[in-house]
Symmetry: C2
Subunit: 359 residues, 2 copies
């Protein structure tokens, strides 16, 4: 009788990470028990380390050629992106950036011009985010791998965690949703050349749309300033970035509130409103073209470098004077996620989002 | 006429890194110009960030299956090693460890037991070095890739740089050289099964040797405590780890002194003594077995997780009471590297050491 071995693909990314966190908490409880923020930062966008009145904030994100760099992506955009994905995690904690490290796995046969442009893209992004490149490593690799580590700092009293949501709080995002998804839908489509030629024939509008969504896919901008600004408002209680998809992050907010309050009998829930979700016309245009659901692009696909804030209800008007926000729902006490559809019917919001290792 | 494109393999790792550092200094001079240590940390073992009276110390090192993990290496040893290579860079700056992040590129078909053991190896090493695992990332990858980032802190006045060497200073290492090289020579050898069987037949001594060198290759220990202790002695002026090979690092010390003193007309040089290089009998035994030069193993191969210190001559006796050191040479003003052979003849010490991207 043969015993079938269990593979990591039987788990999926989130379960693997939970597995690491559980082991880590068991073995290292003495490091984390005295500071709830530090304990909860295992599983948040970025890790926290005690540095006097500040937290040092640290986040690592890896990008691989096969998973993250479509063939149309330019070297400079690849460089830009490894900085942006990492800075977005700092932004989600409300941190000021202080330094960036990048480790590169590089194919031997890589063109030196490609390498130079990639480094230029990294430095361009570092300049944009006011972030010094301070170190890294280079290695031979069969495919291009980039791993970034962004370091920052934030006042201990002002750090933005995922775990602060309570019933009645509002949920808001910093910008439109689904644009990056539309970009990747177009770029990764088998009909790409066909649509390119359609584009070149006449439709000035489609051309503009494709330019916009491609830019959101290949050269996204992290909401660093919005994250830092958010720490100035006591009414903004928590934040996370939504690059793995909005719904995936809503679920994380529910889970984080469970972890941070072990004694709680009931769990928070979340309700969002279809007619409040900021889906721009360009997303609808692309969704139509590819026969997709624009709402799925906005809710599940991810890659939008927006922040999701948890905000005390009574603070929202004042905050909106300073931050461009789209309120799209609220925290409930149901323990699950709901969506109120356009016709007023409330449905269960299915969980989901991008995960590695899932077939 | 075809134009041959230049590949990164035409450069080699050191030139690539120099290329990045040069671009970074040009574009980001305003970040670095006001603190000589921070400026010089580009190119040192780890990067420095200003955190009040301390420096935050950060280092990233990436390991790839194809380059770094021979097939005999166990999952737990792989986990141990990604922590150790990073901690060694902190040790070389004299820093206390404060946190570790690890990004993993994992093949989908990886066995969950392998994954668990690798994570156990990471946590075992974190415990050994008193270093909390605080974050990371997981990704799908055709081959196993691990990228670690070690964070630490060190008193600004006590940081150990590569760039402080002056004529008359002594050079000393914290332990024997060549053991890891001997381990890899054995493990990567085509005669591996033959020697394994020879070993199992009789020689009790060879068995012991193979155990020792294999351990140095697969489960090395970074000299963290020695690095921290070294900061307590003003006479220890600088340090670096020698995992890329002793000679390679001697060269780095010469180069670092050039960078830190632009006005200097002359450059420092280095002289080491063959009879002072700590080559243990086990290295000679393995070198004989494979018909290699034991001195090359000690000087060029690398993978020994020892520290190289630059020490003021008059302090050495006091320091030796507290730190186990092997003084193997001194800083000169010749501008080049020399070795005094056993017979008293002085020769030029050829440069070299492990580099990626070199055929």
């Amino acid at each position: 009788m043969s015993h079938k071995k269990t593979k990591i693909s039987d788990f999926g990314e989130k379960k693997l990470i939970t597995r690491i966190i559980k082991k880590t908490r068991q073995l290292q409880s003495d490091y984390f028990s005295n500071d709830l923020h530090i304990m909860n930062s295992l599983g948040d966008d970025a890790a926290l380390i005690d540095f006097g009145s500040n937290y040092l904030v640290a986040s690592s994100d890896m990008l691989m050629e096969t998973s993250h760099f479509p063939k149309q992506m330019k070297a400079r955009e690849i460089g830009w992106k490894i900085v942006t994905v990492n800075i977005s995690d700092l932004a989600a904690m409300g941190a000021y950036p202080t330094g960036f490290l990048v480790s590169m796995g590089l194919p031997k046969e890589m063109d030196i011009d490609f390498f130079d442009e990639m480094v230029d893209g990294i430095l361009e992004a570092c300049k944009y985010y006011n972030l010094p490149l301070i170190g890294g490593d280079t290695n031979e690799s069969p495919q291009l791998v980039l791993d970034g580590t962004a370091l920052g700092k934030v006042d201990k009293k002002k750090v933005l965690m995922k775990s602060e949501a309570e019933k009645g709080d509002l949920l808001a995002v910093t910008g439109p949703l689904g644009l990056a998804a539309a970009g990747f839908e177009f770029l990764l489509s088998e009909n790409y050349p066909e649509i390119k030629s359609k584009k070149s024939k006449n439709s000035e509008n489609l051309k503009k749309t494709l330019r916009l969504v491609t830019k959101h896919a290949f050269k996204p901008k992290a909401r660093l300033n919005e994250g830092i600004l958010a720490t100035q408002f006591d009414q903004i209680k928590g934040a996370t970035d939504i690059t793995d998809g909005l719904v995936s992050e809503l679920e994380e907010i529910i889970n984080a509130s469970k972890n941070s309050d072990m004694n709680s009998q009931s769990s928070i829930g979340i309700k969002i409103y279809e007619n409040k979700i900021p889906v721009p016309p360009e997303v609808i245009e692309i969704a139509d073209l590819f026969n997709k659901n624009p709402l799925d692009m906005a809710l599940y696909y991810g890659e939008d470098f927006e922040l999701l804030f948890v905000i005390k209800k009574d603070g929202i008007d004042k905050i909106k004077e300073h931050l461009n926000l789209h309120v799209l729902g609220e925290v409930t006490n149901t323990g699950f996620m709901e969506i109120v559809k356009r016709k007023g019917i409330t449905e269960i919001l299915p969980s989901g989002g991008y995960q590695h290792f899932i077939d």
